[in-house]
């Protein structure tokens, strides 16, 4: 990726990159649509031999020779038995490859984001130009192809997880998830498989989903999974709409052909020309020819709308968001001069068309713009959110990371727009999704794993969470693109990852599998339901160490639910001193949500040894103000500091 390493503060010769040797020796298993190995992001120049912990293989096929693997792509396999069983027949190899080759693009993008090699002069049609590299430049990639045209089947995902564990991966990156609400943990194969992987010391980093901005939309929310939401960086691709009356509305575009020029063209609304969504073949040529057409978002692919306008003789397209998407702008590599504007601008442009006898417009393309305005990061409207639909006492998502307009490697088999009408092929593509934020965090987890080989997956997750930030680069609380208002921990979790701070978290909240079993007991799972996790029929005493409440799981964040019976909620935590000072003394600072009194006991933790663990208890007491609300929420934090480290846990409270 270009720009995101800089935005994350990663820099050569210092911090996490230096201290982790760029992830050398760490293996990231990317479970996705496969990989396009010829991309420059997968060159292995300068990499030492394959780690001796690697036990996997490179599956070959007619379109995937042994030479496809090297010291960067050290393994590649494809899993399709579940898919073919679903199809009730073999895969049509004219349409998709049974080898690990990625004919979709998604897997090449995520793999190169996590651990791509450094590539100079990377861009998509000169957009996002720069030096592209994955987060863990020296980590190795094992590609497990589990996604096919009709989806990614649990049976294949579990087979890939099984193989990845056997092969010796350190991190699993999974930008895939359920549609709709998250299934119960014991019915969620990703959750169950991730539990098995975590038991083998593997960090499992997953995308939270793109079902935002509605509440409780996050998936992959088991507490042993690192759940990642998506946010913007300080880079945009502006393409402004200039109306005949001189008004200018900001939009975004990756259109790279001939510009429209300064002279204005007649402007029409697709809804007045046959189809507000501008489906292919549905626009009336006599009304569209030689004009710019405004199309509503939704109904068909965004870039396809431009194709429909072109087919009808139109010269340009303005894609306007409806209320469903608000002000979230997605940059697309349009085939004709086109831009996307937010709902507010779209409404004003439509009003202009309605009230003007001869409405005109043009589009001004401004290329790649990097800078502090608008502030970044902002949470993407599409990023799935909490509260946790399964266990409200566990805050999800865990963190946010760059996931909007991310440039990374792409397949040679499909266009950057993924449309059949688009003949272009590119080395790099710019796309958005929590799929893109997940591998950023997977790469960071790989770096931490290298820096601290003995840390558990939970400790690595804790380091990333307790060092995350929630202020943007203008010093204000991170904004939510869905509303234009401040986002909250239900939206960004602990906040935006800060890798260099994660290198030195001071304290970590560690968890092992027995804690997770105690957690499952606390949410009412009986021994029968826990069997799939422990893999044996349970005796009734499996819950002998049941937590008093699921909120007692030693999680690095706090989510509190008050109801009419519970005015006071108490959670316990244990923190391990992973700093270098044996005699570290940490003091607690509480930022309580309105309507809540919080006490921390003890409020001072005096360590006497490195790796010593100390406990504390937090009491959350709701006052009558909070209880008077029918349903409301509030946010705060608990910060432990020894004067050097700041170990911050977000608090989310619901009544």
């Amino acid at each position: 990726t270009t720009r995101t390493p800089h935005f994350l503060g990663l820099s050569d010769g210092v911090g996490l990159w230096q201290n982790s040797h760029y992830g050398d020796g760490i293996i990231i298993g990317v479970l996705d649509t496969g990989i396009w190995p010829e991309r420059p992001s997968f060159l292995d120049s300068g990499l030492p031999p394959v780690p001796n912990t690697w036990k996997g293989t490179c599956e070959t096929g007619p379109d995937f020779p042994a030479s496809a693997c090297n010291r960067k792509i050290i393994g590649a396999r494809a899993f399709y038995k579940g898919y073919e069983s679903y199809l009730e027949g073999p895969i049509d190899e004219m349409k998709e490859s049974k080898s690990p080759r990625d004919t979709e693009g998604h897997g090449t993008h995520t793999a190169s984001t996590a651990a791509g090699s450094m590539v100079s002069n990377a861009s998509l049609f000169e957009f996002a130009y720069g030096e592209a590299r994955g987060m863990a430049t020296n980590a190795r990639i094992a590609a497990y192809k589990i996604c096919w045209k009709m989806g990614c089947f649990d049976s294949d995902i579990l087979a890939a997880m099984d193989q990845a564990i056997a092969d010796g991966v350190d991190v699993i990156s999974l930008s895939v998830g359920a549609t709709g609400y998250a299934p119960q943990y014991d019915h969620d194969s990703i959750a169950i498989g991730a539990f098995g992987a975590a038991n083998h010391g593997i960090v499992v980093s997953c995308s939270a989903g793109n079902s935002g901005p509605g509440p409780s939309t996050a998936v992959n929310i088991a507490p042993w999974i690192l759940t990642v939401g998506a946010s913007t960086i300080d880079r945009e691709f502006p393409a402004d709409v200039v109306l005949g009356d001189g008004r200018i509305f900001g939009g975004v575009s990756l259109y790279s052909g001939e510009p429209l020029g300064d002279s204005k063209l007649p402007l029409v609304y697709g809804g007045d020309c046959g189809d507000r969504y501008c489906h292919m073949g549905s626009l009336n040529s006599s009304k569209v020819e030689g004009k710019i057409v405004v199309c509503d978002r939704g109904g068909n692919a965004r870039v396809e709308k431009g194709g429909a306008v072109k087919l009808a003789g139109g010269l340009g397209m303005i894609l306007e968001n409806t209320a469903d998407n608000g002000e979230e702008l997605i940059s697309d590599a349009h085939l004709i001069p086109a831009t996307m504007v937010g709902e507010a601008a779209g409404n004003k442009i439509l009003e202009y068309i309605k009230t003007t006898q001869f409405p005109t417009a043009t589009i001004s393309f401004r290329g790649t713009v990097i800078g502090p305005s608008p502030p970044a990061p902002k949470v993407a409207a599409f990023s799935s959110r909490g509260p946790n639909h399964l266990t409200p006492e566990i805050l999800k998502p865990d963190v946010i990371a760059p996931g909007v307009n991310i440039l990374a490697g792409w397949t040679g088999a499909a266009a950057p727009t993924d449309l059949d009408i688009d003949p272009r092929r590119v080395d790099f593509n710019i796309i958005s999704g929590t799929s893109m934020s997940c591998p950023h965090v997977s790469g960071l987890a790989a770096l931490l794993k290298k820096a601290y080989p003995n840390w558990s997956p939970a400790a690595i997750k804790s380091a990333l969470m307790t060092t995350a930030y929630n202020l943007d680069n203008s010093g204000h609380t991170i904004n939510d693109l869905a509303t234009g208002e401040e986002a909250s921990p239900f939206i960004y979790g602990a906040g935006h990852v800060d890798p260099n701070r994660a290198l030195n978290p001071g304290l970590v909240y560690d968890i092992d599998s027995s804690d997770y079993i105690a957690f499952l007991c606390s949410i009412g799972y009986d021994s029968k339901r826990i069997e799939v996790f422990v893999r044996e029929p349970n005796s009734s005493d499996v819950c002998a160490t049941k937590l008093a409440t699921p909120g007692d799981l030693n999680y690095p964040s706090f989510s509190v639910v008050f109801n009419s019976n519970d005015h006071v909620v108490k959670y316990r935590r244990k923190v391990k001193n992973v700093g270098t000072s044996a005699g570290a003394v940490y003091e607690a600072k509480v930022n309580a949500p309105p309507g809540v009194k919080i006490s921390v006991s003890p409020s001072k933790l005096e360590f006497s040894a490195v790796n010593q663990t100390l406990s504390y208890e937090v009491s959350f007491a709701s006052d009558s103000l909070g209880l008077s609300s029918v349903e409301s929420q509030g946010f705060g934090s608990i910060e432990w500091s020894d004067g050097v480290h700041l170990v911050r846990s977000p608090i989310a409270v619901r009544w």
């Binding site: 996705d32 649509t33 038995k81 579940g82 069983s85 679903y86 979709e104 998604h106 996604c147 009709m150 989806g151 990614c152 089947f153 649990d154 049976s155 995902i157 579990l158 087979a159 997880m161 099984d162 564990i165 056997a166 930008s175 895939v176 998830g177 359920a178 549609t179 299934p183 014991d186 019915h187 194969s189 990703i190 169950i192 498989g193 098995g196 992987a197 083998h200 995308s207 939270a208 989903g209 793109n210 999704g433 929590t434 799929s435 997940c438 029968k528 069997e531 799939v532 893999r535 044996e536 029929p537």
Partner: protein
Amino acid sequence: SSDCPQNFIIHVSKSHKPSLFSSHHHWYSSILHSLPPSPHPTKLLYTYQLSINGFSARLTSSQANKLKHFPGILSVIPDQARQIH
């Protein structure tokens, strides 16, 4: 329909494998062979040992229900399709 075959994930107790089977794979194959016959042949898709303990198979719903009562079978869950994000 109970006769319509689909994929299932079957979670199995690690320790229940009878000693006469040389491997879990053989045990799972034997389990599938012992199910009531169906117009659609059962098919063992994968054997899992590390991510979960068990296997996946193509079965009818009635066979899946039957399977739930076999010794050592912990859970039978329909295979679901997920989507890239």
